[in-house]
Symmetry: C2
Subunit: 413 residues, 2 copies
């Protein structure tokens, strides 16, 4: 076996302690393995050994062809997994941002809001969207994200939803991040439609767009799609082979979390207003709660997702950016870790598991990415940080030194 | 006149509307000049023309030697001025960060706190401090800061305070940022001292360190140096030619803002608990309020500086990072703009004035930096942003494209 890449002498190498693709809960969630003087060996794009440098060097001695990266004084982690992004759109929403400074409320409640972006995205051509979206994916990669779920939802009609999903398909083949596309035709109600007629339109789009998507998502919330509309869309999508995710109970408790459990959804996302019963149902069904702290921060909502109670109930937790132009305009998962530490009282260990293994589990790919372990894809980040605890403590600047995707150095190095 | 550099076709060129080195208040504070299709011409390290591209090109036609930067679709602003940083230290405080997640309160109240950093900084040699501090200044520069006030205060005895100020003197000559050093021997009470014996020690240090500093600063607050101790230190320092700044009324209202006015201080900083009388005194004396939104954010203090009232009273306002390892560990002024928009309801226009001209005024150098105007130092940033409003709306990632310091391209380009 040729060792293509060796990372050695990491001050701290940290990886979730999972031994299966299931999301971690309980003690293991907050306590990833921390290996001092750590090393990783890579061959053929996959990890072949992880452990203390001495042991890895003995098991996998470098040859003349091996690239050896010295990581002394540095933190090494799995590549980050962003499990909730809206990467493809045109236009900007700085007008909404400034309006909120002057007292306008929320974002999704604002007239205009999402539909401002829908109009700009419909007007944009395929090439323009590829360029814009590609720049954002590059920014994610620069901040340590190697896998991203990417939602449609700024088209809202067949032609434009298909255009967005085709942009993702193109970019999946033309840049380093692994992209997992989600059809979110039920993101908002476009001009000329009602919740019910948009539901019908989404049901009609489904057979056309299903081949381009892996997941389906619905915005099930106060003033948005109802439980019944959500159920109909998810059932039809599941019949076509898509797995379900739900924008759930962000603006009010409408029972979307319990619906996620009932429907066997992989994740319920946002959950600022989720009920205890909803969390209990999620824990029982193993639905991953995707915490998006950038959104209440950016919208000044004054409330956060109840991570403490989720922890108690054993709800699996992931952490993502909700990257989008209106309500969380940041590509940086490390900054979301800082926000989760400050506002959700999550520890750095929890943040690491929540942005790697548990995020991968919410995407059904935790057998491939999210951990540093033999057989896993070699997605690895070397950070200009001496420890995991330091990473969220030094905020708002990019501490990534090197990003490795499938064994190849794609940032720094 | 040789035109060395021309920046042309900026989507928006924004500069404070001042016509004097005094800080801006009132209407002018929030409304910098915004020039569409803007241009700047530079000669000999200084700005020679600013305006619409057509007019600047006509007045200052490029020659074969002129470097022409095309900024179409981009925002152009003055280089940012960070008027409150603690850049030189060793060690890290991630332990305090994690302790706060588990419920520990504040930072400066924590036992350990600043003195953890004092111990590490005392143990560090000159070369190590130069390396560590140089990395941080490079990060500031990468985020658009071209001038920084830099405080001592992690030495607290003569040898170590002098070491820190000598680190700044060395770095002032060996990297691009303009550094303005502040002696902050009255930052905390080191082991073995009381507030009073440390006050005496600071008074004794003053003649030795004064040649290395431009300003003096005292932490005048609840549990820290008293009004009387602060007054004695500032008077002695002023007699040696240092100008005064004060860490004022962050933890409680002790009347430090009014003292700043009484002593003719250039700035009073933090001000989370400042009284109305304190703000009125500042307005009357023209003391600049330096708002540091990173600190209450990072320490989860649940209160912010009363910017609305300051605006009403005509207190001049600047905005800075408070960059330090314990209570605001970020070099990014753009992120501070985002926090100021979200938490202090400052507009993007106010944030721009507060991080350029008004910050420069608080340092007594607004005749040299902080504006794009003929005769000013050519410190300029080109941003990957289509407008000023966009800049704070896209947060936690670095939108700097090019930084020009004294007419020379030092980042990007």
């Amino acid at each position: 076996m040729t060792i293509d890449l060796l990372i050695i002498h990491a001050a701290e190498l940290v990886t979730p302690s999972a031994d299966s693709p299931r999301p971690l809960v309980g003690e293991a969630f907050g306590h990833p393995h921390r290996i001092a003087d750590g090393a990783v060996a890579v061959s053929g794009g996959h990890i072949v050994a992880v452990g203390p440098t001495d042991a890895v060097m003995q098991a996998c001695p470098p040859t003349a062809e091996t690239v050896v990266l010295e990581a002394s004084g540095r933190l090494v982690t799995p590549g980050l997994v962003d499990s909730h992004t809206h990467a493809a759109f045109a236009g900007d929403r700085s007008r909404d941002f400034v309006a909120r400074i002057h007292g306008a409320r929320g974002d999704k409640q604002m007239s205009g809001g999402i539909n401002t972006t829908v109009a700009a995205t419909r007007a944009a051509g395929f090439d323009e969207l590829v360029t814009l979206t590609g720049e954002r994916l590059a920014r994610m990669l620069a901040h340590g994200t190697t896998t991203a779920e990417v939602k449609s939802g700024y088209g809202l009609d067949l032609a434009n939803e298909r255009k967005i999903l085709q942009v993702y398909a193109y970019l999946a083949a033309h840049q380093p991040l692994t992209l997992l596309p989600t059809f979110l035709g039920a993101h908002a109600v476009p001009p000329g439609f009602t919740l019910e007629t948009q539901t019908e339109a989404v049901l009609a789009m489904l057979p056309e767009v299903a081949p381009l998507a892996r997941f389906v998502d619905v915005f099930c919330d106060e003033g948005y799609f109802t439980l019944d509309q959500t159920r109909r869309i998810l059932q039809a999508a599941q019949a076509l082979g898509l797995r379900a995710r739900i924008h759930a109970d962000e603006l009010g408790d409408v029972g979307a979390a319990a619906l996620a459990a009932e429907m066997g959804a992989l994740s319920a996302d946002h959950l600022l207003c989720v009920s205890d019963a909803g969390m209990q149902a999620m824990a029982a069904a193993g639905v991953v709660a995707i915490i998006l702290p950038g959104t209440p921060f950016y919208l000044n909502l004054g409330r956060v997702a109840p991570v403490g109670r989720m922890r108690e109930l054993g709800v699996p937790i992931a952490l993502s950016t909700d990257f989008n132009p209106g309500s969380s305009f940041s590509e940086s998962l490390p900054l979301m870790m800082t926000l989760a530490c400050l506002h959700n009282h999550m520890t750095p260990g929890e943040c690491l598991t929540a942005t790697t293994h548990n995020a991968a589990a919410s995407l059904g790919i935790a057998d491939q990415v999210g951990r540093l372990a033999p057989g896993m894809q070699a997605d690895i980040v070397i950070w200009d940080a001496p420890s995991l605890d330091y990473l969220p403590s030094h905020f708002g600047v990019n501490l990534v030194e090197t990003v490795i995707k499938s064994g190849r150095i794609v940032v720094g190095g």
